[in-house]
């Protein structure tokens, strides 16, 4: 290769050629060369020692020993196994790189490259062969064969399509209404604390209190962990009590709360993280995933972040003994958005 290659479409930049060869220090100084060799040999020579050390540590360092150093608390065996094994592998790499840099041949080469396309002759010949094949198959005259073949091949996709579509329930309106658009909340279901499943008396809640809660009938699913998890993913709620004089309660939701005790879905309307990060002074509920913030003192409207819809509120009241109980299920689907969701019934800031 030389720099005389003309500038063409395939060579937009003239070939700069190969830079002048300057010998490495190790090529001209025999002492440096020997030193480099010793360095590389030392790298490789240390590897078997480290590997032996690894085995010794594996068998003879008790698992109970620990290393305390600069705030580090590590199991001694793990620490030494990792250090010896890691350094051994590193030394193999360092030795190999130094070997290539200092000892192996040092001459500049230029990689040869050519245009990738075939020559015009080759292309013409290939097309001739294709045309000859079409003529010999007699397809241009036999229309019946070509038509039936055009139908036969695509029809093979049908079995695949049908079996793929039948892999699960078809997510039509009926299926959606029975699954993602409903929860196990219903009229008369008691609100109970999560984990401990204790009913909650309205008078026992103080202003500023937050309860992570669940529907009482979630316990009916205790024998079916998968169904329980699926139901919890939609039915989880938080109950908060605020001073009724400091919050906005729209006329349409006056009967949804008990003296400042409000109940909301715990599932963020953005992508469905469970949220209970509530600041009782600002009434803001913050989702830790993407910082969507809902104002629980204003029917759960979004005040910050990527969520597009208010947090669904669960209408609640008290039973004859004063325990909190649901007036109905959620009036809108809880959880994240999906394409077919009807969002016309969600609470908008300022609705009454």
């Amino acid at each position: 290769m030389s720099s005389e290659v003309e500038v063409t479409r395939s060579h937009p930049v003239p070939d700069p050629g190969i830079p002048e060869h300057v010998e490495r220090w190790v090529d001209v100084d025999p002492a440096a060369s020997r030193r480099a060799e010793r360095q590389i040999a030392a790298c490789f020579g240390a590897v078997p020692l480290l590997a032996l050390g690894f085995i010794v540590v594996y068998f003879f360092v008790p698992k109970t020993w620990a290393i305390q150093f600069a705030g580090l608390h590590a199991q001694a065996q793990n620490f030494w196994l990792g250090l010896l094994g890691g350094v051994a592998i590193l030394l193999v790499g360092i030795g190999a790189v130094q070997w290539a840099r200092l000892i192996m041949g040092d001459h500049e080469i230029s990689e040869e490259r050519h245009p990738a396309g075939s020559t015009a002759e080759d292309r013409e010949q290939a097309l001739d062969e294709v045309h000859e094949g079409i003529t010999q198959s007699d397809l241009p005259r036999r229309k019946l064969i070509s038509t039936t073949l055009k139908i036969a091949l695509p029809s093979l996709a049908l079995p695949a399509l049908v079996t793929l579509l039948d892999m699960g329930p078809w997510p039509g309106p009926g299926m959606r209404a029975a699954t993602i658009e409903t929860t196990i909340w219903a009229e008369g279901v008691h609100l109970v604390t999560d984990v401990t499943y204790r009913r909650i008396k309205a008078v026992d809640m103080v202003v500023g209190e937050l309860v992570n809660a669940a529907p009482e009938n979630i316990q009916d699913l205790n024998n079916d962990p998968a169904a329980k998890a699926a139901a919890t993913a939609k039915a989880a709620i938080i109950i908060v009590r605020m001073d009724p004089n400091t919050i906005k309660i729209p006329q349409s939701r006056k009967d949804w709360q008990v003296d400042g005790i409000l109940c909301y879905s715990k599932i963020c309307t953005h992508v469905g993280c469970p949220i209970s990060l509530w600041e009782h002074q600002t009434h803001h509920l913050l989702c830790p995933c993407h910082q969507s913030t809902f104002d629980l003192g204003n029917s759960g409207v979004v005040v910050f972040g990527p969520a597009a819809r208010s947090l669904p509120q669960l209408p609640i009241t008290t039973d004859s003994e004063g325990y909190l109980v649901a007036r109905s299920g959620f009036t809108v689907p809880v959880g994240p958005s999906y394409f077919e969701r009807d969002s016309t019934h969600d609470y908008q800031n300022g609705d009454n």
Partner: protein, 274 residues
């Protein structure tokens, strides 16, 4: 002509600064000796109890003489604390959050300068002003004698009710608008303070009343926290224990950075003969 003015301009600022400095030292020394020392417990010339005395001296300027709160020009300087309860006072004072040094976005944990008896006296005084959670007894937050099962249950309760803000291991976390939930471990937080915070909901923290979390529940949660934080991190550095952020940063900076360094070294030309 050219000598004297130049010398004067060069020396006079220094001399002035030295004079001001000397004056400040003298005045500071005099005031340090002459100023009356303020003791938190020195008695007032009245017949009120210790708790009331300490309250009037340290709390009343913001919370009012009777804990009714202070409002200046429509801005609340300090809230009404008549129904805050003795437990709230004990939490705020023993964690050094109150008395506040000044108005700030979030009252932070600082060094408590009061003795346990003084705090108890103020807490009882404020507790008597209204209703509110009283001081806990040691048996309410003592975690000794709990079984592994109970501690595991406490962990479930902690992860359900507390981890959203305080992290699964109680390391704290971010809230909105620059606020944060403080760490519950490693900063001298006592079991009593955790109990008091759960029951009184300091600042933006919600209240968790005995209806939903019984005293035994709170005990097991505290035991879970101590258990988690007394078990050694055998993996080495915890990197704050706050999950993928620091671990990802360490992998990128140390791991990828190291690889870039090696790549540069492999491709470098090295020492040449000229």
């Amino acid at each position: 002509m050219s000598e004297r003015p130049r010398r004067r301009t060069r020396r006079s600022p220094l001399r002035r600064a030295a004079l001001i400095g000397a004056a400040l030292v003298v005045m500071g020394g005099v005031s340090a000796i002459a100023a009356p020392t303020v003791s938190n417990a020195s008695p007032l010339p009245t017949e009120v109890g210790t708790g009331a005395q300490i309250f009037i001296k340290n709390c009343a300027s913001c919370h009012g003489m009777n804990g009714e709160g202070v409002t200046v020009n429509g801005t609340a300087i300090g809230p009404n604390i008549q129904n805050a309860g003795a437990a709230a006072v004990s939490f705020q004072m023993s964690s050094g959050r109150m008395p506040m040094a000044g108005q700030q976005q979030q009252s932070r944990r600082t060094t408590n300068t009061f003795s346990a008896d003084e705090i108890k006296a103020v807490a009882e005084y404020v507790g008597a002003l209204g209703s509110g959670p009283g001081l806990p007894t040691a048996s309410q937050y003592d975690t000794s004698g709990l079984t592994a099962d109970q501690i595991a249950k406490g962990g479930e309760l902690f992860r359900t009710n507390c981890s959203a803000c305080h992290n699964y291991a109680g390391k704290g976390g971010a809230l909105s608008n620059g606020n944060y939930a403080p760490p519950l471990t490693g900063t001298g937080v006592t079991n009593q303070e955790i109990w008091e915070a759960v029951r009184t909901g300091p600042q933006n923290m919600p209240v968790f009343s005995p209806t939903q979390l019984s005293d035994q529940d709170v005990q097991t949660m505290i035991a879970y926290l101590s258990d988690v934080n007394s078990s050694p991190d055998s993996g080495g550095y915890t990197l704050g224990g706050i999950g993928p952020v620091t671990e990802g940063a360490a992998a990128w900076i140390i791991g990828i950075g190291g690889l870039v360094g090696f790549a540069l070294w492999i491709a470098s030309r090295g020492a040449r003969a000229r």
